[in-house]
């Protein structure tokens, strides 16, 4: 606990960075986004310049930096209020009405009289990036003929090249999702930020809720958005990664990412557990846990359990607990199978041995206390059982029973590799009655089939397939219009509410 307190002390003001903190760096106004961990040794390559990140330590989030060249090479220099006013004045210039147009512009590449050699020479003499930009403007024969709007565009373009700016941001699930979507949409299964937001709303995610999450896209944005935001969890600690320092150096155009395979997260938001469950044979890596440098309290709340245990918890969980049962996906041919059977355990084809990982080897043989819903109890019971708390403890039969007897309060599925209908059919029985669920897919058909089957089998109501549509606007005086380029697709969501099948209800209430 002492360690936890220390950690909390060090993050009393989460709006200022500290050594070891993780940040999102926005380079040149969104052109590039990089996750980095601030340390004395970490550095970042911008263009052909390698800059140390140490000047960013102790600065407020939102600070802006510019690459300057000093005697010891390039470095990041904080842009303070005064120089920001200059920027403001410059952009105010363009507010005036224009009569200029492009009739005099000839695109023959001869407008700029300053050569590459000239610029290099200026650099050697220690000219700042801003000075080079000014020199370029002064030597452009066409600059004065441009409209002030395109003058500004020209200036920004040159500034980005010769005086790149770095903006210090708090990494949030929203910005992480946006960053991935921009660069590597496939890695997050084409899940756009508005779709992610919608998923969380439709699943009624809130503190103390018990969310069952099947998140199998390569980079688990959804899992992340649960674990990440709560404030009591040191935001940046949460994102600390193994080998992050190394990554930052070679990350030039590459996002650092992590993989979660075949995992289901059970999440008691904020105070409870993350139960990482798995389909299939292979023990998935608990990479997410290693990525988040979580404190004891959080680590102790990350539990794992195979789907079979979750499904069987009610009947005789104590027997099944600890058995290395694996759960294989139902193929399409199983679709006709009776839905009413609350338990679906199918032996995998061929004998599959579950791999033991270092996480599992710390499985406590001593029973943990039956956890109450209060975080204090959970923390103490877990830390007693295993010091220091390791993530990925197997859920105890007591916890499994607790889940089973209460049911999950919502379900989120984003598993493009799984058959949607069989996954929903298997997991829906784990949900409380009246619990909302939301299924993400980048293709429409699996959701349509799933929706149809849910309707026919009368398992859910309020079913709807939605596709969010997002358009960003350029808002400028007399120049307001939608952006010329937009994302045309951010994924589909099937949402609904589980209803109470009367037979099932009677069994439950017994």
């Amino acid at each position: 606990m002492a360690e936890t307190n220390l950690q909390n002390d060090s993050i009393q003001n989460p709006r200022i960075t500290w050594e070891g903190c993780s940040v999102l760096l926005d380079i040149n106004d969104g052109d590039r986004l990089v996750f980095a961990r601030l340390s004395a040794a970490s550095s970042l390559k911008i263009g052909d310049k390698k800059c140390a990140l140490s000047p960013l330590i102790g600065c407020p989030f939102g600070s802006l930096f510019q690459v300057e060249t000093g005697s010891k090479g390039p470095y990041l220099s904080r842009i303070v209020a005064a120089s920001e006013d200059d920027i403001q004045e410059k952009s105010d210039l363009q507010l005036k009405d224009e009569t200029k147009d492009n009739r005099a512009l000839v695109d023959n590449n001869s407008a700029q009289t300053l050569s590459g050699e000239d610029i290099d020479a200026m650099r050697r003499q220690g000219a700042t990036g801003d000075e080079i930009v000014e020199a370029l403007i002064a030597n452009s024969s066409t600059f004065e003929k441009k409209t002030s709007f395109s003058q500004e565009k020209y200036r920004i373009k040159k500034q980005k090249k010769y005086a790149p700016r770095v903006l210090l941001r708090r990494p949030f699930s929203r910005s992480i999702c946006e960053a991935y979507f921009k660069k590597y949409p496939a890695r997050i299964g084409y899940l756009r930020v508005d779709t992610l937001s919608l998923l969380l709303s439709m699943a009624n995610v809130s503190a103390y809720s018990d969310v069952l999450v099947v998140d199998m896209v390569e980079t688990s944005i959804i899992g992340l958005s649960f674990i990440f935001p709560p404030k009591w969890l040191p935001a940046s600690h949460a994102f600390e990664a193994i080998g992050w320092n190394l990554e930052v150096n070679y990350m030039a155009s590459q996002f650092w990412f992590f993989t979660i395979e075949n995992s289901i997260f059970y999440l008691h938001l904020g105070y409870g557990y993350v139960c990482n469950t798995y389909f299939g044979a292979t023990q998935y890596p608990m990479d997410i846990v290693r990525i988040f440098n979580l404190n004891n309290k959080i680590c102790g709340s990350i539990l794992r359990s195979p789907v079979s245990d979750l499904c069987l918890a009610s009947s005789n969980s104590s027997e099944h607990h600890g058995q290395q049962e694996t759960f294989s996906l139902q193929s399409e041919s199983d679709m006709g199978e009776s839905i009413s059977s609350g338990v679906s355990l199918i032996e995998p084809e061929g004998q599959v041995v579950q791999m033991e990982t270092s996480f599992q080897s710390v499985e406590p043989s001593m029973p943990c206390q039956v956890p109450m819903s209060t975080d204090e109890t959970v923390t103490s019971s877990v830390s007693r059982a295993c010091k220091p708390a390791k993530p990925g403890e197997k859920a105890t039969p007591e916890i499994l029973n607790l889940w089973k007897s209460n049911g999950f309060s919502s379900l989120i599925i984003a598993a493009p590799e799984l058959d949607t209908w069989s996954t929903v059919k298997d997991l829906l029985p784990l949900l409380s009655y009246s619990a909302p669920f939301a299924v993400y897919h980048q293709y429409l058909q699996p959701l349509a089939t799933c929706m149809h089957n849910l309707q026919v089998s009368k398992m859910a109501i309020n079913l709807q397939i939605s596709e969010p549509w997002l358009r960003e606007y350029q808002v400028l005086p007399s120049r307001t219009h939608p952006f010329m380029q937009m994302s045309a697709f951010g994924g589909y969501i099937l949402s609904g509410i589980k209803i109470c099948n009367n037979n099932e209800a009677q069994n439950q209430s017994k």
Binding site: R15, P60, A81, E84, Q88, S91, R170, F172, R174, D194, L196, S197, L198, L200, S201, N204, S206, A207, Y208, S209, S225, K231, W232, Y271, M372, S373, N406, G407, S409, S432, Y433, S434, L444, Q445, L447, A448, T449, M451, H452, Q455, V456, L463, Q464, I465, S466, E467, P468, W469, L470, R471, Y473, V475, P477, T480, P482, I499, C500, A505, Q508, S509
Partner: protein, 312 residues
Amino acid sequence: MLPADGKKAISFQHLIANGDLIIVYERHDNLKAIKVCDGSELQNRFGVFKHSDWIGKPFGSKVFSSKGGFVYLLAPTPELWTLVLSHRTQILYIADISFVVSFLEIVPGCVVLESGTGSGSLSTSLARAVAPTGHVYTFDFHEQRAASARDDFEKTGLSNLVTVGVRDIQGEGFPDEFSGAADSVFLDLPQPWLAIPSAGKMLKQDGVLCSFSPCIEQVQRSCETMRLNFTDIRTFEVLLRTYEVREGKTDFGGSENGSPISSLPCKRRQCSSEIDNNRGDNKYSTAVMARPSAEAKGHTGYLTFARLKCIQ
């Protein structure tokens, strides 16, 4: 509406009790919020439903009327509440709401300021996002509207998370006591630019502001004001397209050179039973098909987000 420490909003163990707020679901476009009251009745086109029949049933139950008609009884969520609340003003819907919550980076523990309160549709979702330790302070200059909103938060059990104040935010700005204390500010006002300087004062450094306006002229003017103290100014429009799903029958017609495929959408129940009857008959095949709904909301409003410039 929201689960609290040690108290679940829904669970297999949780049964409908006298005094509970429930959502009566007739159809996807016909829902109603009702407080269960032993001795009361609900009367609709499906017949008369006795509240006493509902008590002790699990949430999500299908209940029948004297005439044999039925409705479902659901536990309230902010999403369902948005569909049933009484519209005292134009309200925000789920696509805008969820986008606002995530773009304002609202997480448990946040302090959020909102104006105007309106019908409290967004406030309900804001409350869910800041729970259990944060708080939403929402202001409306309309005294009666504020009082109704307060009643609603009482009804939905959110009054410990939302405080409704009566104040003309455009004219007076937010109260000074919140200076530098807000993680996020949301404005839904006819002249948001009047309130933007005050919103800037309220925000913590690097805090996020959102302004919702139906008209682009409002956005234009807001953005001009925002440029003074804010950065990362971005304007979005977010809409939802919904899909209809039908099981269609495809007639192969027996001709080999592929006559144009005709699909005859029909009621799914009939089709599904036909699959069984026609098994082995390869003249027809059925397929589940989806198409966008013919009508949709074309516009709700523009959402402009901006981040307080970091100056010191």
